[in-house]
Subunit: 532 residues, 2 copies
């Protein structure tokens, strides 16, 4: 049992250990917050892996798997949480770690691990980056749990330039994937907010939402074929640009969240790196006018790569605007064609809906490399979006979070009203007030994908219960108003009860039957999506 | 037991009874063919329903269902075949008719019919227009077969103009569907070649391919939600523009070909009727250059509505060209925006790949209603495509047919070579020669959807065996060369053995389990897609 030599991820907060804040930085931040909220906030000391008292492993690593399986504190702590339920980690609390973590280095080691778990009835959690915000990789109660970390499957194996597709291993993290495509002039161009800390396999398993705000948004659209190991053997679909042969097998694997199999690789549709770009940030006097503009643009099928809409509060907080106006960020990009016509057409539609943008703030890169989207309100938003400072705030008692959905346009205004009403009340009840803002991350001809961020003012008491109360209010509001419980955060364990109200009962019944046929001993990620 | 009063479809050929050719027209056509092929071809007399000697029904209609269930010759003959296996019909041969045909008028009647069949173990064939070219609605061997014709479910129930979506009953035929949307300024704009004789439910159940040649091509992309009756109860998905909540339930219903349930209605994404149009027909000195152009255009993401490519033989036969050049038909359309820029960009890319089109043959409708696509080679192709004269040629011994696939670009040229080689040889063996041409019906960034048409010179002997020999050669060639057995003709019974080589075995296993959970007595369309 050795310790793994790779660059290490933090076991108590987001990102790499090398990027963790220091105790001093956290103390300084706590002092700032103490002043802001007029109460004493103390930063707990950063936990150390060697000090953790973890439950003893309830299994023994067999010699045949010993070279790639681990039971040390760091490995088990790192795999103890998903991103959403990691709050106790900063306090050194790891009540339910996996009993063993496997890092198979090839398909043979993966097969042997899965067979061993299956024959022993050990629960298996397929694990990519661990960035799930819905408890998707959190060990459930079970007799023994093995987390199967796919990070050794990290290569781009093949590039088919003529078809613009690549065969890519599932455990590769976003930046490393792009590093391997870039020298060839290609990019997957899928940038979920978790990009640096999530993997291709995770994106496929959870139907992640990416870079493109319109048209092909989810990873679903970029999957040409999937290779997946199930307890019953290998599942591999034929590489095809499209087919009409029966229900699409890929669409059963995509979104299966680790309950049907372990994705090992996929043929993915890739892009030529864009050369031409055009961007504009259009300000609107009202939220209503701004979302009408977004609707008109997407219904015209201009298909901008970017069509992000920020409500007035978010435009103020994240894009430096005055708080009275909404901001619609429109962006086009292409490897082949100048995008002047597109941006002008989209801006024309936005202006017709009451939007304002000076001509000289429509930034067009005609292929010469002029930066677009880096200045003004658009640039401010870009920078605000990219930073993640969870390490600084962990354990300081802030009640913050996000939730998201998609809904048809006819139901959208009422959903927005209902969510703001219900979540606003919950923030009042739980935190004595707080903030709630909304943006559109993706926009479809038949409806938007709204994304809400909330932050509660500090109040003492049970932190987890406060988070839960607000999350419950938001989820209830979304389901009541006709939305989906998740547009791109997946179901996992956190969204289960609302998902159960959303999907057809008979689909769950069919999915259970499908799972039982592939995973007869119900070892794969039990409790996610369906009950075993 | 009455005879139904609706406009009647022909029971022995494609289309309505009112459009059937006369015996005299068929005799004249036979005489023409006799000269062309230098052999005597005789047209069998058109069969009459009242003269047919059908197997006695092996069940008795219960009184409770009598008002909408039928056992007369016409109904049973009409539902005896799919379009591909109807050849014996013109000779009055109907060896395997369904025992009863139900035309439920509402969900209650549908429920009662399905329950009655389920409790008696009668096989049920959900039936739309009967235009399947893969035996999808052909009664299999069974103790008793009930065909469930959904043609009374023929209304557009609701239009959501703001979301551009409509709730539509599944049994509506294409023209009647469009008739109901047109007054509101909308269109589904889904025109499979079977449009006049197929239904929304059929399109969804078979993943039909429609009007749009790029981007959103299959009906799949236009389905917002599906309502479906299974033997275990109702399945209805939530109306959503998009979601990331588990595997998409719609994608299990879409393409299920009647084995999981009977689709009764769907919320469909609809379109504003286009106002702006632009079309060009670009000629290429070689087939290779023409498909390179199609690839470049679709990879640039211009997303033309039309991007049909005809090989030199087809360009000669159907578009009046000289036989040395391929024809790429490019079309854009929009309800909101002039399409000049798009067509010029696409034509520019086509010319860069060696294509030729005079500037004055780029036809642009700037919203004033100037006809596009109706003149020259493009217009000739349009007219050739629309006509279907099956009634004239039925039973005259021509060995003709079509097959289609989709394949990634890297594998495409070898697939084309292989198909032409293998099918050419089969035509030689079976017919002593014949013709084979190819077009692209749909084009994707990672590969085309080629569609082949063959016609064998007449030779006496077993007609069905000749058709089967050529179909087998074509299907083998496609699967060997990496294509899908069908891009938009579905699997049915005809494509089963090749589909079995294409889809993951474990997907079939999961689908069988899913079906068993929804249809425990295996009454729904057995033998299609999977074995029970």
């Amino acid at each position: 049992m050795s310790v793994r030599p790779k660059p290490k991820r933090s076991f108590w907060t987001w990102g790499l250990q090398a990027d963790e804040p220091t105790d001093a930085q956290r103390a300084a931040h706590a002092a700032e917050l103490s002043v802001r909220f007029d109460t004493e906030i103390v930063a707990p000391p950063i936990p150390k892996a060697e000090d953790l008292k973890l439950r003893k492993p309830r299994l023994r690593i067999p010699d045949s798997l010993a070279s790639f399986c681990f039971t040390d504190n760091y490995e088990r702590a790192l795999h103890s949480y998903s991103a959403d339920d990691r709050a106790p980690a900063v306090f050194g609390q790891f009540p339910s770690p996996p009993d063993m973590v496997a890092h198979p280095r090839d398909e043979s080691e993966l097969e042997r691990t899965l067979e061993w778990c299956d024959s022993n009835g050990y629960v298996v959690i397929p694990f990519g980056g661990g960035s799930s915000v819905v408890g998707g990789v959190t060990p459930p109660e079970a007799e023994a749990v093995v987390t199967l970390d796919m990070d050794e499957f990290d290569s781009v194996l093949e590039i088919d330039e003529i078809s613009r597709a690549a065969r890519i291993q599932a455990g590769v993290f976003g930046p490393h994937l792009e590093d391997q495509l870039r020298p060839h002039g290609y990019t997957l161009r899928h940038y979920p907010q978790s990009f640096t800390g999530s993997t291709l396999g995770g994106w496929i398993a959870t139907r992640s939402g990416g870079h493109y705000a319109t048209n092909h948004t989810h990873i679903d659209e970029f999957v040409e074929s999937v290779r997946m190991l199930t307890p019953s053997g290998w599942w591999e679909s034929r590489r095809l640009p499209s087919s009409g042969a029966g229900p699409d097998p890929n669409r059963l694997a995509i979104g299966s969240e680790g309950i049907l199999g372990v994705i090992t690789e996929a043929w993915m549709r890739i892009q030529r790196r864009p050369v031409y770009r055009a961007t504009a940030g259009v300000a609107f006097p009202s939220w209503e006018q701004s979302y009408e503009a977004a609707r008109n643009i997407v219904q015209s099928k201009l298909w901008p790569a970017n069509l992000r809409l920020l409500d007035p509060d978010l435009s103020r907080d994240a894009a430096g605007m005055d708080g009275s106006r909404a901001l619609l960020i429109i962006g086009f990009e292409s490897a082949e064609l100048p995008q002047d016509w597109n941006i002008k057409a989209a801006v024309g539609m936005a202006r017709a809906s009451g939007g304002e943008v000076p001509d000289d703030e429509i930034v067009i890169d005609d292929g010469t490399g002029r930066p677009t989207g880096h200045s003004g309100a658009v640039g401010a938003w870009r920078n605000a979006f990219i930073s993640i400072d969870e390490g600084l705030t962990a354990g300081l008692g802030l009640v913050t979070g996000t939730f998201e959905t998609a809904v048809t346009w006819d139901a959208w205004p009422a959903l927005d009203d209902h969510v703001r009403d219900i979540v606003g009340r919950a923030l009042n009840d739980v935190c004595g007030g707080g903030s709630l803002n909304c943006r559109f991350t993706h926009v479809y001809p038949d409806g938007p994908a709204p994304y809400y961020t909330y932050a509660g003012a500090y109040r003492s008491g049970d932190y987890a219960a406060q988070q839960t109360a607000i999350k419950k209010a938001a989820s209830d509001a979304i389901i009541e108003a006709g939305g989906t419980i998740t547009h791109h955060h997946a179901v996992g364990r956190l969204h289960r009860s609302w998902y159960d109200r959303e999907r057809p009962d008979l689909f769950a019944q069919a999915l259970r039957a499908a799972k039982k046929s592939l995973d007869p001993n119900s070892i794969l990620n039990p409790g996610v999506l369906i009950d075993p």
